[in-house]
Symmetry: C3
Subunit: 273 residues, 3 copies
């Protein structure tokens, strides 16, 4: 069902502008290339308007943020908004420092991203730290589980409605929601938690999916989440006993590279609530 | 024929100062190590004079440029010039933003690099955007092909003459020229376009080749280009069906690591025009 | 004997704040994850106090330093010191530029790191460049060998005593010493010198070991050094003939990922002097 959103990425080859952290940036670029899109990176405020103008989407990731890159994110975000480009916000570390929480909230308030993708702690920090977010149940548990699934689905739908965005909370169980629908996705491997940057890669890839599928961004992001999780399963299946997290990192990107619509359709573990 | 230039790199182990983007910097470092040279990275203006002074060459790559690194490139470039070091300019994204185009042209005008390496779009942007470049046919096509090869060879020779530099335009067919000679190189694999940073790696490697072979920089850069393309072919030949762009990235550097002069002599696909 | 220090890392999962260079940062993060700890990266002065406060240790690496990151290191270092966190200093390139030497010495003087890890040239530069370092024999040779081992053991113990720190000098033979004891470690492979960042990875991993084993930081750092060297041996043993430095880089992190206490106990090549 979700394979068609991947097919659209391969057909349209969207160009994605990334302002992202220097820890995982190389893997983000290779993951975007693996799904058939193209990455370009630029964070200098004097450079980002021109760069984002030639792209179709913008991926804002606040890991290793600094004063220059924060300014670059605002400048690029305003320009992308003006041009009607898709914008994704990855609030890496929101809740871990005041600067990260406030930067993520400022970007939400000013740029109005089409997509927000983080782990449950980061998304909770956005909800709790945001004075403009009213009526959202911020008492959500720390991880999405079968026990709290109904509550978490309501939480993510509520936040998505409040922000007018598609919101993805990723973890052992992934949720991708807008105000009305929530995809519950159970692809992935626990070993992915031992690799730096699978979340950052997903944000880059999800931006490409959103650009290629503007008519249904929520389904497109769900497809990206399922594809990344399935790539983890496929990559893990090829590991030799002496291989570990570093090789798995490569195998996941390799699996994205080789994934087609049928593979995703056959491997997705998705329900809609 | 070109193997001896690789052999000279392995014999002399040149130290290369790189001011390069944070997307592909790790692969640049490992590629330089793979051919037997040594990399050092520094972009802080207060640090670069000392660092470049202990090196033999300087690789300036404007991907993810910022105000600090642009200043660092100028400071390092002037010092390297003063010391008679080899300097390579990689104008990543020239033509994609005004800042990148103007930075690349400023560096050409001030530092007078020995080598300029980019794709055809970037090199065309340098020609079109440069007021000091007269008499160069800037109507070159968007990609080098068998159909426009004579025209492109004339274009790259003309730009090389105008700048007093060795100019490398890389793509499906690679051209490496000075005013008088143009190497036409047909090594490589199309799958290399799905890996971020093969061009950046080549620029780092080519700087090492230029330092190790000061008597014939053009042939040295041609050797680097052929070696990188051949490494792509060798790396690709070892891929399992489930492997993709991320593993190919590693295999290319591995192939450079294992390449000796005879391998390059046997695998090069080069003609001189 | 040293396996128990690794076991403590896996049991306690320390969170390590890294201010480190952008060349090798991804491998540092994956190496820290491979031993069961967690990395977080932040260098912005306005961000580092909050980030380091939630961690157990701080890894300061001056490769690709800049004015902002230097300030970030001082701010983070003071806060970590105040909180009683373990701090490691990796003086990358000390001796290669005045800025690097002076930055490393300033950080030693102000932050008083628990651990200092570098190669012999870097550590010598710290000794020679430091006006507060008296009575240390700075005439140590350029590499630790069986011929100068007694002299080098005395040198590293003396520097450790002078700085009140655990000092690790890594190379073909590794030394890890405090004022009273020196571990002499002979794990590793010469091919590790053809990979960028094995030293940086070790510094990140050693910080995690120090945090997890506060009662005996010197033995903990020795365990990290032996583990990294043993991972090099194991990783090398799995290489195909066509594989090289890039795949070895992955295999080393993979070997850390799969290493348990018994493997380290069985593979360590350590003597205490």
């Amino acid at each position: 069902m979700l394979g068609r959103y991947l097919a659209r990425v391969r057909e349209t080859c969207p160009l994605v502008h990334n302002i992202t952290n220097y820890v995982t940036v190389n893997d983000v670029a290779n993951a975007i290339l693996a799904v058939g899109a193209s990455p370009i990176m630029s964070d200098e405020p004097a450079d980002v308007e021109d760069i984002t103008s030639i792209c179709g989407g913008l991926n804002l990731n606040i890991g290793t943020l600094n004063q220059r890159s924060i300014e670059g994110m605002h400048v690029a975000g305003r320009k992308a908004r003006e041009l009607g480009h898709k914008v994704l916000l990855d609030p890496v570390g929101a809740g871990a420092s005041r600067l990260r929480t406030s930067t993520a909230i400022d970007l939400m308030d000013e740029v109005h991203p089409d997509v927000i993708r983080g782990n449950v702690s980061e998304v909770k920090a956005l909800v709790l730290g945001s004075t403009t977010t009213r009526g959202v149940d911020a008492s959500a548990a720390d991880a999405v589980s079968d026990q709290n699934l109904d509550q978490m689905v309501a939480f993510v739908k509520s936040f998505a409605a409040d922000r007018g965005a598609t919101v993805a909370i990723t973890g052992a169980i992934d949720l991708v929601a807008d105000a009305d629908r929530c995809y519950v996705i159970r692809n992935g491997r626990p070993e992915m938690g031992s690799i730096t940057g699978t979340g950052c890669q997903l944000s880059g890839v999800a931006t490409a999916f959103a650009v290629a599928n503007p008519d249904d961004v929520t389904s497109a992001v769900a497809a990206a989440v399922a594809a990344m999780g399935l790539a983890g399963e496929i990559g893990y299946s090829h590991l030799a006993p002496y291989e570990g997290n570093s090789t798995l990192r490569n195998r996941i990107i390799d699996a994205l590279y080789n994934m087609d619509a049928q593979t995703l359709d056959g491997g997705e573990k998705v329900e809609l609530r």
